[in-house]
């Protein structure tokens, strides 16, 4: 029991402290002091068994000691905020912690006056109010969304970080249960003309963010989503309506959606030409690289956590693939020499994060831990060397290579990929 209680207290100290270095120091010095004294009853002031609790309320709140936070980057119109992956359990991201990426701030949109215009190569150009869209048959699905720039800070051979949190590294990843109307239903309503092959999706923000999307995807599993984790989608996620393209890069899943134009060619918007394209070796750039290949990342233990003692620890993390379902996650606790199958928490859903766990007895010696995912197309998450070889070292998006965390003999955890390259 003592082994269990100590780490839990340590983890809390880490979560609630903004300076990782300070937190790590606290944990190390307090590790022994926090050891459970099983003979003394815990002190709670006031004693909750002697004081009646508060009444019911219309809106709940988090426990005072549990205040996970996004990592908000530069206070700018085009900016991002990352989900606190180290604080999250299971696969669902609380809606208020879903990562953010905006190109011109978050618009204030009144649902009652929001409209979706669908036109172009259709039999009947139509405009829909939200009350119209919500009346169509709905579906709910769990899908991840990931920014295709996620993980880019761990790709440069010369600049491999060590003191980086998993939130800062991979926090542009979130999972929600999304509710909406299949885009195919709306396209059926307007009647797509033969010869159409693309559409243009346009947002109602101050960048009028727009992306071209192939019609095949629109007719397959694209959603017009207005619900997120059981309630209306958050303004940061596109309220009142966003395009969902399951398994594809986040940028193409246009938020605050107000217009869809059915076309026979891509529009070549700025976001699909000068941005969100992948420079490759040999002087070319890959365009319309929507699909997110299989990936995994360990969320515990990660920097700045310090393992206070050797013994049993559960390594855990997330795995996901835009191609389909995760079929296997392997964990190595010896720098990649040997791999063991991690336990996959059910349900494992297509185009959704999967939670993996691996019980590990740390012997107190320095080592590097890694994870690698395999999906149902047979794709195995590559090493960074494999990605360098395939795409060059100058590419700008789609960084799905294996991550590594170094555990020092004093228990301090740092990002460890630099030790393997």
């Amino acid at each position: 029991m003592s082994e269990k209680h100590g780490p839990r207290l340590s983890r809390r100290a880490w979560i609630t402290t903004t300076s990782g270095v300070v937190a790590a120091g606290l944990i190390k010095t307090q590790a022994d002091a926090l050891r459970l004294d099983a003979q003394t009853a815990p002190l709670q002031t006031p004693d909750p068994t002697k004081v009646p609790g508060r009444f019911t309320s219309e809106v709940g709140r988090r426990a005072v000691g549990e205040q996970p936070r996004r990592l908000a980057r530069a206070q700018a119109l085009s900016s991002s905020a990352q989900s606190p992956l180290q604080d999250l359990m299971g696969i669902i991201t609380p809606a208020d912690l879903h990562f953010e990426r905006h190109h011109a701030g978050i618009p204030e949109i009144a649902k009652g006056s929001h409209e979706l215009l669908v036109h172009g190569m259709v039999d009947r150009p139509m405009v829909f109010r939200m009350s119209d869209i919500e009346r169509y048959p709905r579906v709910s699905r769990l899908y991840f969304i990931e920014c295709s720039g996620n993980g880019g800070s761990a790709y440069s051979r010369e600049n491999m970080p060590t003191e980086i949190t998993v939130q800062a590294l991979d926090g542009l990843l979130s999972t929600s249960e999304w509710t909406g109307v299949p885009l195919s239903t709306i396209l059926r309503e307007v009647g797509v003309r033969s010869g159409a092959s693309w559409l243009l999706a346009e947002g109602s923000d101050a960048a009028m963010m727009s992306r071209s999307v192939p019609l095949e995807k629109a007719m397959d599993d694209a959603l017009l989503a207005f619900g997120q984790n059981g309630e209306a989608i958050r303004p940061e996620q596109g309220y009142p309506l966003r395009l969902m393209l399951p398994g594809w890069e986040g940028n193409a899943q246009v938020k605050w959606l107000r217009r869809i134009e059915v076309t026979d060619r891509p529009t070549m918007t700025r976001e699909e030409t000068s941005k969100y394209t992948d420079p490759l070796e040999g002087g070319t750039a890959r365009q319309f690289s929507f699909l997110m290949d299989a990936k995994s990342t360990i969320t515990f233990p990660t920097y700045p956590f310090v393992l206070p003692e050797r013994g049993w620890w559960e390594i855990t993390g997330l795995a996901w693939s835009g191609r389909g379902r995760i079929t296997r996650v392997e964990v190595s606790t010896d720098g990649g020499a040997r791999w063991a199958d991690a336990v996959l928490q059910q349900p494992v859903l297509p185009k959704c994060t999967a939670r993996f766990r691996h019980l590990w007895e740390w012997n107190g010696r320095e080592t590097v831990i890694l994870s690698r995912a395999t999906d149902d197309t047979g794709y195995v998450q590559p090493t960074v060397q494999q990605l360098w070889e395939a795409r060059g070292e100058r590419t700008r998006y789609h960084f799905n290579h294996q991550r590594a965390w170094k555990v020092a003999s004093d228990g301090a955890v740092t990002f460890g990929l630099g030790d393997l390259v």
């Binding site: 139509m126 346009e202 192939p214 995807k217 070319t284 890959r286 690289s289 389909g324 297509p350």
Partner: protein, 202 residues
């Protein structure tokens, strides 16, 4: 046309991905509950529900402001490099710098990013279509007052930016005919996603 060819290639690559399918044995309880990615309408669904309203041509035109690579959607108007310099120094200089290279926001002027990586991804070095400038500027620029530029001002500032990048001459004038005719230096740099699915790392 190139975009059409690209679309065909892209469609073919998806079919490969789509055919891969789940490896799990079908018929397990998990599959019955969760494998249904594609959405089937209920059997009794009508051919059309009739929700929403038909949009008039005027209603469509009010929002249909994007510009395609062949120039479709470009409005009437024109602007010269000299006129564009005035627009740039009025509306753009604060974020992009006096020569389009100083920032603090995106560097607009430069040549080949491939030699100086991780150099700046500039209009001259990385933008494949000149029409994208019109599409983007008219929808999103200037950042604090998007949409404030007139078509003439927009054509002019595009002419200036293209000239600064060495793409058009100092006496160039941009309009709905000349802009789509501009061949950008990075035009042939771009290849449609050629990942083939399966175990290949690409």
């Amino acid at each position: 046309m190139r975009p059409t060819a690209a679309a065909v290639t892209l469609a073919a690559s998806w079919m490969l991905v789509g055919c891969a399918g789940p490896a799990d044995a079908p018929g397990t309880p998990a599959d019955e509950s969760f494998a249904d990615i594609a959405y089937a309408l209920p059997e009794q669904a009508p051919r059309r529900f009739g929700f929403g309203a038909e949009a008039s041509a005027a209603r469509v035109a009010r929002w249909d402001t994007d510009v395609k690579p062949d120039g479709e959607g470009l409005p009437a108007g024109k602007g010269t490099v000299a006129e564009g310099e005035v627009v740039f120094m009025t509306y753009c200089v604060a974020c992009h710098g006096p020569t389009g290279t100083e920032g603090p926001n995106d560097v607009l002027v430069g040549s080949d990013p491939w030699e100086a990586w991780p150099g700046s991804v500039t209009v001259g070095g990385y933008w494949p279509y000149a029409t994208t400038l019109y599409d983007y500027i008219s929808r999103a620029m200037p950042q604090l007052t998007p949409g404030v530029l007139t078509p003439n001002q927009t054509y002019a500032v595009i002419a200036y930016i293209l000239h600064r990048n060495g793409v058009v001459a100092a006496d160039a004038e941009m309009d709905a005919q000349t802009l789509p005719a501009v061949i950008m230096p990075a035009r042939d740099r771009f290849v449609v996603d050629d990942r083939q699915g399966g175990s290949q790392i690409r």
